[in-house]
């Protein structure tokens, strides 16, 4: 069944020459990016090698405990990334907790849904299916939540007068924040919508190409890709709605006041 062509390390070394050429170009044109380019390339190679080893171990164990721990580690790292991408973070535990909690809720829910309905591996938590699926959903969910929360906090700062004008006239906190909430949700879901509409025309999705390269018939690979796209849209939608509404909840209070004092100071980026 598997008719893929295995790569040797010499093949990779040969391809890495392309990155070295990029670095030479950076020196020639004085772009000052050769250093970060090489560091990034080395990081990528090391991180992926480690992940390859970890996945090999996980796949041979097929243990719910170790699979669960790997899932947790992925979610915590994604939570860290969401926090890093905020210009203005929520204060206290909320800065890490809100994004992480919402990603955990939505990505685990959607992955479990796919494993229990469409894919049905045996056992259902088989890491060979669970980990890559969760990874794809989590990655997109992370982008969506990071964008949504960042749009929410920056627009609440910029449009404070307009939100408070509605509060002054007796609007509830949800009504007053509705225009900002809508913008935040829209920017959270835009990348997913764009990638769904462009996929197949402009770009061939990585997972589908991977399956084709490993010998899966294109029609079958496409079916998988469509499933994954739906899962991503669902996971990003749930996660972003929960995170943005959670953000509105935290940045207002029970007396329906706008509480921008619950934002930390601006991050140096």
């Amino acid at each position: 069944m598997a008719s893929y062509i295995a790569l040797s390390y010499w093949d990779l070394a040969l391809a890495s020459v392309l990155v070295l050429i990029d670095a030479v170009l950076s020196v020639l044109f004085g772009l000052q990016i050769h250093r970060s380019l090489l560091v990034a390339a080395i990081r990528m190679a090391v991180q992926l090698t480690v992940i390859g080893l970890v996945l090999t171990a996980l796949f041979s164990l097929v243990s719910p405990l170790w699979t669960g721990l790997a899932v947790l580690a992925m979610i915590l790292l994604a939570g860290q990334e969401v926090m890093q991408r905020q210009d203005r973070r929520l204060s206290g535990l909320w800065s890490f907790g809100l994004g992480t909690g919402c990603m955990m809720m939505s990505s685990v829910l959607v992955t479990a849904f796919a494993l229990l309905t469409a894919i049905r591996p045996s056992p259902w938590y088989d890491p060979r299916y669970a980990i890559p699926l969760l990874g794809m959903i989590l990655g997109n969910c992370m982008t969506g939540i990071a964008l949504g929360l960042n749009t929410l906090t920056t627009s609440l700062m910029l449009r404070r007068a307009s939100v408070e004008a509605q509060l002054m006239l007796g609007a509830t906190r949800w009504d007053a924040a509705a225009p900002v909430t809508r913008d935040a949700l829209r920017s959270a879901l835009m990348p997913t919508i764009n990638s769904m509409s462009a996929t197949g025309l402009v770009s061939l999705p990585g997972m589908m190409t991977g399956q084709i390269l490993s010998g899966v018939p294109p029609v079958e690979a496409v079916k998988y890709q469509i499933l994954v796209m739906f899962l991503i849209a669902g996971g990003t939608g749930f996660g972003a709605v929960a995170a943005v509404l959670g953000g509105v909840y935290r940045l207002t209070d029970a007396r329906h006041r706008l509480r921008l004092d619950r934002l930390g100071t601006a991050q140096a980026i």
């Binding site: 408070e164 004008a165 006239l169 007796g170």
Partner: protein, 236 residues
Amino acid sequence: MVVQTRKSVNCRTARLEVPKEPKPPLRTDAPLLQVRDLRTNILGPASLALAAGECVAVKGPSGAGKTLLLRAIADLDPNQGLVSLEGRDRSTIPGPEWRRLVGYMPAEPGWWAETVGEHFGDWTAAAAVVTNLGLPEEAKSWPIARLSTGERLRLALVRALIMQPKVLLLDEPTAALDAASVAAVESLIAIRIRAGLAVLWVTHDADQAGRIARRRLVVEAGSVREEVGQWPATLP
């Protein structure tokens, strides 16, 4: 004789009913708005009382906390202390309902939609007040982005007035207006005050304070006190 005595009694009664400075009919001794030991991070303990149909001018140097005082009364910033309206404790009234009862108009009003009309639930109710303030009824379709500061202030005042609040907190509502508009705003609010509205009016203009209010509060370095003695000099 008897007839004359009666007449003279009538004259005295009539004079009492229309004093030189007419007292608003709804004004009672029990305060409409009671504020006791109101504090925020910056504002010191502030206490004041406002009766129905009363206007109190608030003055003080820039940055002294006048705006913070109004925001704290409208419950827009976290604050401690006792605030009550008609004897009802503010903490028993949900925030949105409180702000409909105690309206607040900031010095720089905010707008959330593109045209003027979208900021008014019922434009027909607003239109009458809008024309009183020297703006045409077609203002409904004006884009917010093209309004002058003076137009914004007057429209924000209309927006606050048509909510029919019992108390109105005004933060320099005439700061950017020409003399005719200032007069229009003052007389419009005076009519509402005679109908029972209570007003806290922040103004830097001593003459305006004399025209609109009998009492004055001074806010200095976050503390609030009542000014007594000096101000009647500006009255005619």
